[in-house]
């Protein structure tokens, strides 16, 4: 039974304590001690009996109520083995207890025993056991400093600046792609200079996106507009990249040039790996040549599986572009994307629903030391053509045209075995529209009346009247519906507090009905 077990354990533990006083306080005055000992013995027996009756150790409560002081001082006197255990309390205790006086007397006379007392001690808890924000910030500062020290000792000795070159133009998916590049570059632990070349002139649209990165940017505009076919687009992109390289040459930027196409995806290891380049390096690029049609994708996947089953000896077409090495890790050639499976089925126009294929060698798979582009740089290798005298009309397809000897290229990423970035081209329909700056400024150009208005309290408004009102009101435009739901739930808030489970409404009153329909609407979306 619980009562007896508690009492048993209580007695057992206390019986232990009675043995120890013989060794500890041998030198205490005999007579004084016996009186005190008798007194405590009697008190102890009394407390035992009362606890037996009550069923719990009541003495804690007694002391809690009698002696509790303000909670600022949470120190509790340590347990002395020769005294009964009553005066211990986990949370609050006062310093002015009788046992405390006895304790100091006993401590002064017990010479050999240590300052540290054996036995039960209180568990000290401060009044507000939660983190202090100032200290948390200090701790993070310490962590940062330690990590910086680690980096200087074990990590990179000196890091070069990363010069990112991005050709872009304003279109629906620009914000989608460019935001990805913004975040990747913001995460790079090295210095970054971002050269953004824009077709159709430097616009505020692009400028706003790149300004959000907080990086040092060079925004260059060229007058030509981006053409509508993939082939022409890639040609213009080459021209734009060369413009950017001219900027590098003129400004004498010192670092490693990499080509961050706006729809590509970069891994952070890519930026660490390119720090190892001496003059001209190449990495493996994963090619995601998808078609917009999901069914066709699945069909082509099945077909490929069948083909693979038949010809198991032949290696499947790896969608990777990058360096090819022999067994001694020397560059012997390049893996190029196999366009044969897509012959005749690739996209021509930018918004075609078909696979978008890359060029033979994509620019994004190459990185170069910016000193190659300078007019005069010490130790510039002889196998590099002078950039200033590059003739674009001869057709520059890949950065290899900048070199006289393409075999001097350094393969990175364990000789191309690591795929460090992915190439993807996804664009919206040609006639797709998007709000400038992706900010919904009323009025929207396209408004469609909602066919059903399931909220009986909110009267349906005709679309024409509400052109000059803020979208937060009860318009029934396509975009506004979530706001309306928010508004509806706002009204219902006080009633809903009583309900615990959001997704099990009881149809007792109309308010809950409204909410249930809105939650269903949520699920449908």
């Amino acid at each position: 039974m619980k009562l007896s077990a508690l009492h048993q354990s209580y007695l057992n533990r206390r019986s232990n304590s009675f043995r120890s006083p013989t060794s500890l306080d041998s030198s205490v005055d005999g007579s004084g001690k016996s009186l005190i000992a008798v007194f405590w013995l009697i008190l102890h027996c009394l407390c035992c009996l009362i606890s037996l009756v009550l069923g719990f150790r009541f003495s804690r409560l007694v002391f809690f109520f009698l002696f509790s002081t303000s909670s600022t001082n949470l120190y509790s006197a340590p347990f002395r083995p020769d005294l009964p255990v009553k005066h211990l309390d986990v949370h609050t205790i006062g310093r002015n207890l009788d046992p405390g006086a006895n304790g100091t007397v006993a401590m002064a006379t017990a010479t050999k025993s240590s300052r540290v007392v054996v036995g039960r001690h209180g568990i000290r808890i401060r009044p507000w056991p939660h983190p202090n924000p100032v200290e948390v910030m200090k701790a993070h500062g310490i962590i940062e400093r330690v990590q910086k020290e680690q980096k200087t000792i074990f990590g990179m000795k000196s890091s070069k600046m990363v010069i990112a070159v991005t050709p872009t133009y304003v279109r629906t998916f620009q914000a989608l792609h460019l935001t990805g590049v913004v975040h990747s570059l913001m995460l790079v632990p090295y210095d970054v200079v971002w050269i953004v070349v824009e077709a159709g002139g430097a616009t505020n649209e692009t400028g706003l996106i790149i300004a959000k990165s907080g990086l040092r940017t060079i925004h260059v505009g060229i007058d030509q507009r981006m053409p509508n076919t993939w082939e022409d687009r890639s040609k213009l992109e080459v021209f734009m990249r060369l413009q950017a390289l001219r900027v590098v040459r003129e400004e004498k930027l010192d670092g490693i040039v990499m080509f961050a196409d706006d729809s590509n995806m970069h891994s952070m290891e890519f930026f660490d790996e390119i720090q190892n380049v001496k003059w001209f390096g190449t990495v493996s690029v994963g090619i995601l040549a998808h078609s917009g049609n999901a069914e066709e994708m699945v069909m082509s996947m099945d077909k490929r599986k069948e083909m693979e089953k038949e010809e198991e000896e032949e290696s499947s077409s790896l969608p990777v572009q990058g360096p090819a090495c022999n067994s001694t890790d020397q560059l012997i050639g390049w893996h190029i994307f196999n366009t044969l499976p897509y012959a005749g089925k690739s996209a021509v126009y930018i918004d075609d629903v078909a696979a978008v294929l890359p060029q033979k060698l994509e620019w994004s798979g190459f990185v170069l030391n910016s000193r190659l582009l300078w007019e005069e740089a010490e130790n510039k290798p002889e196998w590099v053509k002078d950039f200033g005298s590059l003739n674009e009309n001869e057709g520059v397809e890949s950065p290899l045209s900048l070199l006289k000897d393409p075999s001097m290229v350094e393969p990175l990423g364990s000789c191309g075995r690591q795929v460090l970035l992915w190439w993807l081209r996804v664009e919206a329909r040609a006639d797709s529209k998007f709000p400038p700056g992706w900010i919904i400024d009323p009025p929207l150009e396209i408004t469609v009346a909602a066919k059903r208005t399931p909220w009986p309290d909110v009267p349906p408004e005709p679309p024409t009247k509400k052109k000059d009102q803020m979208p937060l009101s009860q318009g029934n435009t396509v975009v506004v519906i979530p706001k309306q739901q928010q508004h509806a739930t706002k009204i219902r808030k006080p009633k809903r507090r009583s309900k615990k489970n959001k997704h099990e409404p009881r149809p007792t009153d109309t308010t809950t009905q409204v909410y249930s329909s809105s939650s269903k609407h949520q699920e449908r979306n």
Binding site: S9, N16, S17, R19, S20, S23, L24, L74, Y75, P78, F79, P81, L88, V90, K112, S113, S114, R115, V116, V118, G119, R120, H121, G122, I123, R124, I125, R126, P129, H130, P131, N132, E135, V136, K138, A139, G141, I142, I143, R145, V146, Q147, E149, Q150, K151, I153, F154, G155
Partner: protein, 432 residues
């Protein structure tokens, strides 16, 4: 020394030639100094040598400084115990077994007891394990007594000094008090027969009955191969601020709390369980060693006894140990400057642990990490097989060597007796 061109000096070199020579010599001296300081500072950048009288001692070589004679006891005192339970080789008290093996093949061992400075008794008192692996100390006093009776009757060297030039390895919870409960251990005190001998033990607490003044504190045994198998590259950034894994409450032996660890571990839990800087829990993760290498501070609070293998693990993995144990005596305290390496927090200050740790200046923290990175520190904490220079075995021998030469007064006059062979609880007097 480059010949400085006259144009460097300015105009009219002919008039100022003595000054010229002085300036030239000064400049060349400065250049030389800078050159030498640059070359030597490069080595100091990564680790810092524990310099000074305390730290250099770690690299002392004990060979030639002392001679140890190993008594030949019947195997019931050592080998048979190990055969009965081979778990004794892997638990944290395994230092007694490995010390024996080390001494048998060490160059300090001598077969001639007359020229020996120290005498070692190969006895494994901590090798009586429960089914769950915890050592029972109840028979250890009797075993020790029986061993001492054997050596005193078969060899004259014990009676010569009554054990003052003998040393024993007693790595149990409270050393030679031979009990796991502190109150009982204090009550028993050090075994009366061992009161003149030097004790090599893991327990150390100032002004405690179970720590004799001349004792040598050693680290508990931690398996070196197991730890070395879990090393991660040092450039992985340390991102955990404070790390601890272990019990906070021992619900089996101390259900109400307050006894275990004198309430210090419970205080750590109650105050910091909500603090994201403190990665503390009772889990047993498989990545325990790897996590320690990703932490800046590792808590080493006391448990039932003030010492724990966490200290060894923290030192090996470069995590600054935060020692929460009042009056603790750390291993090799005369050779290792623990105040410069670890952080000491009084048990009453545990609720302010976060304030204390965040207010340590960054430079101090970096210096502590540099000292910890010193390989001689890590070596001194380990018991590798086979023994390597600078490891814990050698530090024990260094400690013994520092106590030499023995004072003449330890040699008793013929027939003199200082120890009381019948002291202690009655149960200890039974033969083993």
């Amino acid at each position: 020394m480059l010949p400085l061109p006259s144009s460097f000096m300015g105009s009219k070199p002919s008039h100022t030639s003595p000054v010229d020579m002085k300036i030239r010599s000064c400049l060349s001296a400065i250049l030389l100094f800078l050159f030498f300081s640059a070359s030597s500072s490069e080595q100091n950048v990564r680790t810092e040598r524990i310099s000074g009288s305390a730290g250099d001692v770690l690299e002392d070589n004990p060979v030639g400084k002392l001679k140890v004679y190993v008594y030949e006891l019947p195997s019931k005192y050592n080998k048979k115990l190990l055969q009965k339970d081979p778990r004794c080789l892997t638990h944290m008290f395994a230092a007694e077994i490995f010390m024996h093996r080390f001494l048998l093949s060490s160059p300090v061992r001598t077969r001639n007891p007359d020229e020996a400075d120290w005498f070692y008794t190969p006895i494994y008192p901590t090798c009586d394990l429960t089914p769950t692996g915890l050592p029972l100390p109840f028979k250890s006093p009797r075993m020790m007594r029986s061993a001492i009776q054997l050596i005193s009757s078969n060899w004259p060297y014990w009676n010569r000094t009554e054990g003052a030039d003998h040393f024993f390895v007693v790595p149990h919870d409270f050393g030679a008090c031979f009990h796991y409960q502190e109150e009982k251990a204090i009550e028993r005190g050090i075994l009366p027969l061992l009161q003149r001998a030097t004790l090599v033990q893991t327990f150390g607490q100032r002004n405690h009955v179970c720590l004799d003044e001349g004792s040598i504190t050693i680290p508990p045994f931690a398996p070196p191969q197991k730890m070395q198998a879990h090393f991660i590259p040092p450039d992985i950034p340390r991102s955990i601020f404070v790390y601890f894994r272990g019990l906070f409450y021992d619900v089996n032996n101390d259900p109400e709390g307050g006894y275990y660890a004198r309430g210090a571990r419970a205080a750590v839990w109650e105050n910091f369980k909500n603090n994201p800087l403190f990665d503390i829990s009772t889990d047993h993760p498989t990545t325990y060693y790897e996590d320690m290498q990703r932490a800046i501070f590792c808590l080493c609070p006391l448990g039932w006894a003030p010492w724990s293998p966490r200290l060894v693990e923290a030192v090996v993995f470069g995590c600054i140990p935060v020692i929460i144990a009042d009056d603790i005596v750390l291993p090799f305290a005369d050779a290792i400057p623990w105040e410069e390496i670890g952080v000491f927090v009084a048990e009453k200050d545990v609720p302010e642990l976060d304030t204390i740790l965040t207010s340590i200046p960054t430079e101090v923290i970096l210096r502590k990490q540099r000292l910890l990175a010193n390989p001689s520190m890590k070596r001194a904490m380990l018991f590798p097989q086979p023994a390597q220079p600078g490891d814990a075995f050698h530090q024990i021998l260094n400690g013994l060597a520092r106590k030499l030469p023995h004072d003449k007064s330890i040699y008793l006059k013929a027939g003199g007796k200082e120890l009381n062979w019948t002291a202690g609880p009655v149960g200890d007097l039974k033969p083993w």
